[in-house]
Amino acid sequence: MSTLVGTDDSAPQGHLWRLFSGQLRRDLLAAVRAPGELVNPLMFYLIGIALFPMGVGPGPNTLALIAAGVLWVLALLAILLAMDGMFRRDYDDGTLEQFNLHMQPLFVGVLAKTLAHWLMTGLPLTLIAPLAALWLYLPSHAVGTLMLTLLLGTPVLSLLGGMGAALTVSLRRGGLLLALMILPLYVPVLIMGAGAITVVTDGLDPAAQIKWLAAILALACTLVPFATAAALRIGMEQ
């Protein structure tokens, strides 16, 4: 009896899952074929981090003091710079129009594209962050928190950035405008992410900040794809 109901229910669910995984696979394949897009944000992140000791001075105390903020601010900027390309290629070759027409419901496709984009930017960035933390003398017991906050925070950055990219997809030069629109929306993630690391280096428990990041991620996952889907429809009208 229960299996019967299960098979009945699984038909539309399976459809959604096929849509989701198909889009995810396509985007990941496209990204693997153009590895520059995978590497560039990481390079930017490392170069940006390396600029700080050159600007502030090599003193370990000063650097450790600003490490949490710098690591997070540059993560924000690196993801933001990568966002512009999320829909760009698909828009240029016309795939996005097909995507808009055939991906029903659209937000499932958006979610898949965002996940693919995050797997190519946010996840590698999270993995490379310990190296950057080393350069800034972040206490080693805070590295785990850094990675955890990035793991929870960067998907939010990708989701919100994807919405910005969808809003500016039809514009030739959307990059700066994207930053202007989206950076203010990144403020809570920055505060909670960098805050958690500061709390850990002060020897306190970062559970509250991390729970906040998780809550923001859950909220963004459920709401932002709808906004992005609406933005894509609007952007394709012209």
């Binding site: 919100l160 919405m163 809003l167 500016t168 039809s170 514009l171 959307g174 405008l177 202007l180 629109m181 989206i182 950076l183 203010p184 929306l185 403020v187 809570p188 505060i191 909670m192 805050g195 500061t198 709390v199 900040q209 906040w212 923001i216 709401l223 932002v224 906004a227 609406a230 933005a231 609007i234 952007g235 009208e237 012209q238």
Partner: protein
């Protein structure tokens, strides 16, 4: 009541109806707004007692608090208008977002500037990263984003809907930003600065504040409506009722309202 709301809703779909009805609203709201602002300012400047700690510099409150409240309300107005535009496709909502954004940005800037000026005698510095100032600054950036997006997209209809989405997302984000900023401050400073000096203001202090707040809101609605009327005139310039109106009024030198 419900049928009345429904009728109003349908009428709001007609720019021409709004163009006329807004004029009669402005005739009431603008004098009320100006009167309340003048009364509140004069009361606050000359008649309210000085604060027991801050002395006379506390009188900046009658500029700072109304503009800060209005700045936040305007963004919420834009967010609600965004929902109305996307769900019911009401053109008027698009015009409201377009006109309200620069007004909101100007009041946010006023709140920040008056707060900075207030900071000098109170804290001895032009800028303090306190919770409200920081949240206001982020709000100003949100306004800039909406205005920039509007200007970047050439096609008016697309620009309107794109701004609506950004306004909605911003509106949802505002409470999260405010909460996180509060959180950030307790982490970095321990004690928070408070702009309102006394825990309980005496009536001769808060009544002028209330009057000024009412004045600012009435003033905003009047100015918003006048802006929307201009926008209607521009967008509907090919329609017959506008050309008739133009033929009637354009020749007059005082064709303001």
């Amino acid at each position: 009541m419900w049928t009345w709301i429904k009728q109003l809703w349908h009428k709001l779909g007609s720019p021409r109806w709004f163009y006329d009805i807004a004029a009669s609203w402005i005739r009431w709201l603008l004098p009320i707004g100006i009167l309340c602002i003048v009364a509140g300012f004069v009361w606050g400047l000359a008649f309210a007692p000085p604060d027991y700690q801050q002395g006379n510099s506390f009188r900046i409150i009658y500029v700072h608090v109304p503009s800060a409240m209005l700045a936040q309300s305007i963004f919420i107005t834009m967010g609600i208008a965004g929902v109305i535009l996307l769900v019911w496709r009401m053109k008027l909502a698009d015009m409201v977002i377009k006109i309200a954004a620069p007004i909101g940005a100007s009041f946010t800037a006023l709140a920040l500037a008056s707060g900075a000026i207030w900071g000098v005698p109170t804290w001895g510095t032009w800028w303090v990263w306190d919770a409200r100032t920081t949240a206001m600054l982020v709000l100003l950036f949100l306004y800039f984003g909406v205005i920039a997006l509007r200007q970047a997209i050439a096609r008016e209809e697309t620009a309107g809907k794109a701004c609506a989405i950004l306004a909605i997302v911003g509106m949802i984000d505002i409470p999260i930003i405010k909460y996180s900023v509060n959180w950030w401050l307790t982490l970095h400073q321990g004690a928070t600065f408070r702009l309102t000096a006394a825990p309980a203001m005496p009536p001769e202090m808060w009544i002028p504040l209330l009057i000024t707040v009412i004045g600012f809101y009435a003033f905003f609605v009047a100015v918003l409506f006048q802006g929307v009327r201009g926008e209607i005139l521009r967008r509907e310039h090919r329609t017959r009722w506008v050309s008739e109106l133009v033929a009637q009024r354009g020749a007059l030198p005082g064709a303001a309202s």
